[in-house]
Symmetry: C2
Subunit: 336 residues, 2 copies
DNA sequence: AGGTATTATGATAACGTTATCATATCAATG
DNA sequence: CATTGATATGATAACGTTATCATAATACCT
């Protein structure tokens, strides 16, 4: 493969002059630039980003570490990250941790090796056991979607407390007295924040004492299990709050299996919307997070930190959710 | 940041010996290995993958160029790619082309610069205008999901002809005589193959003459538009074949807007299934592609090519689809 | 004309690692 | 004991680029 030296020979200049043409930096006379550019064409030259990165200490690569790209929320977020990165000339490395701290650690190590200019991380745990990896290193990190302890970084996330609170207020306003809350994993901030927000709404409505709480995970099976448990309670709940999209879908499946209709027999609200393009008949009342925008803002913060040499203080961007009321929350509860 | 030379100094050996310890290559005495490893720990050493790649000509990075990661089919495929890559010690660069050849070209150029060891490509067009990028270069390419002309590469894809054919046979067997086919973009092999397969089934059933064909794109809006046009035909079709998941969802929405029920008023079959975890009530009769496996097999072929030095002949892996019959295709047609 | 700033180009070294070749030690073999 | 093969370590150069410093040529000013 042709190198900058081949070009230099061909164009009759020094390698550094070729470098100037490629990078559009420094002074180059017009006719020299033409000659070099012609050499580039003729030799079908492709710059070696490894050598560039090694010398210049910039790789123009960002990396995204998330739990699972097949979760539509993260898919959309990832697309936002990729678009924003690409628009600024950066490429994107993507890694799935499956909420496992060991996988997260493995990936973060590799990313440090690759000298990615920055890392966008959806941390697997609130108390990260991997915070040490970033100490004494200058790779900036932006935390997405969740809070985390111990890592000095900018944060971009949706307002889980507020979103869950709104859903709780909605249910209370409809007259529900016995509500079941299906949570995600403890130790994950988004899950805990949703619990906090929803609980607050229940408390304000004076129905916290009858709140049924089930702890699970952000997956469908967990949603089914928690729902089946909730239905065994007596008296059984008249409404369900699911802490994310997968739990919600699991819950709906469990309800259907039992022959229960939503919202006629039991109402339902959930966190996370599904993309419009993926759903035939939008049905769930949800707190929709601005997934795409979380990704875009994350890249913005990261690049700003990369540009400015002086260490600016860390920022926390909390984006509001959108309450979308659809069929699943039903009308006012008539019987009690 | 500590380098291999710092480690060497600390451990009292030559840099190359440190390299041997890190790469677990060559001979190193046990006590020396220990000393080096201790130095690694103490200095919190992270190898520089740029320098490694520059010298060794291997980056342990693969790249995935697809049209849009927010399409669940590609999301699943991407996950398959990432898992397989990761299992073999490779990281993954991901790029979205939005079916645009110019974006595709821009990304492929960048990937060549980054010296990714291999590229997995979902080509935007059947006749690729970017084939020239790979000539005289040794970066191996695997084409996923589609056929493409001009690029010498392994191919992994689902059997679009067969899948569409099966769906056509199904509809014909149910007694439909007037069927509408909503296709994807012309010039994209998966779309064209589906048209071929479906047409074949129509022909064999002797109902090709009444087949209504609408050409569109793999997006929801296109599905809605084509459906609205199809409904204006007289007599109107009794069944619809949608060439992908987004078209299908658009079609369902258009039908719903017109107050038509599926399958009672009109039957429907489609290509691509939606992940079980994302759908509350699976309803569409589909030809489901093994998306995850397409990704895994793609990486397998790519790595095999990387391992073997001799140029082996290119392979085409065509994975079968699964016909999943659900409600939307309805029972036998009673009226005509 | 002399001095200063701007434009233009290059020489050299360095980024951090590993490929290649060379050499030294040691144990085993007949 | 000389020979061989395995074990162990290192010196040197190279991968392809750019940071840094130096120098030359030209334009601009008084």
């Amino acid at each position: 493969m042709a190198t900058i030296i081949d070009l230099a020979t061909k164009a009759g200049v020094a390698p550094i002059t070729v470098s100037r043409v490629i990078n559009n930096s420094g002074y180059v006379r017009e006719d020299v630039r033409k000659r070099v550019q012609q050499a580039i064409e003729e030799l079908d030259y492709v710059p070696n980003a490894l050598a560039r990165g090694l010398r210049s200490k910039r790789t123009f690569t960002l990396s995204l570490v998330l739990t699972d790209i097949t979760n539509p929320f993260f898919t959309t977020m990832a697309r936002g990250v990729e678009d924003a990165a690409s628009a600024n000339g950066y490429m994107l490395l993507v890694c799935n941790t499956d909420e496992r701290e060991d996988k997260e650690r493995m990936y973060l190590r590799l990313l440090l090796q690759k000298r990615a200019d920055g890392i966008l991380l959806v941390p697997s745990r609130k108390r990260s056991g991997n915070a040490d990896l970033f100490r004494n290193r200058h790779t900036p990190v932006v935390i997405l979607d969740r809070r985390v302890e111990g890592i000095s970084a900018d944060v971009v996330r949706g307002d889980s407390v507020q979103g869950a609170y709104q859903l709780g207020v909605l249910l209370a306003g409809l007259g529900h007295k016995r509500v079941a809350m299906l949570t995600g994993p403890s130790g994950v901030s988004s899950s805990e924040d949703r619990e906090i927000g929803f609980r607050k709404a229940m408390k304000e409505a004076g129905i916290e004492s009858t709140l049924l709480v089930y702890n699970g995970n952000f997956v469908q099976e967990s949603g089914m299990e928690m729902t089946n448990k909730a239905l065994q309670a007596s008296p059984s709940p008249t409404a369900i709050f699911a802490a994310n999209n997968f739990i919600a879908i699991g819950a709906l499946k469990a309800l259907q299996a039992k022959g229960l209709r939503v919202p006629e027999d039991i109402a339902m609200v959930a966190f996370d919307d599904l993309p419009e393009s993926m759903v035939t008949f939008p049905f769930l009342t949800v707190a929709a997070q601005p997934a795409y925008d979380i990704g875009v803002q994350g890249v913005r913060l990261l690049l700003e930190r990369l540009e400015s040499e002086e260490p600016t203080s860390f920022r926390e961007v909390i984006l509001p959710n959108e309450l979308i009321v659809r069929k699943s929350s039903g009308g006012a509860v008539k019987y009690q």
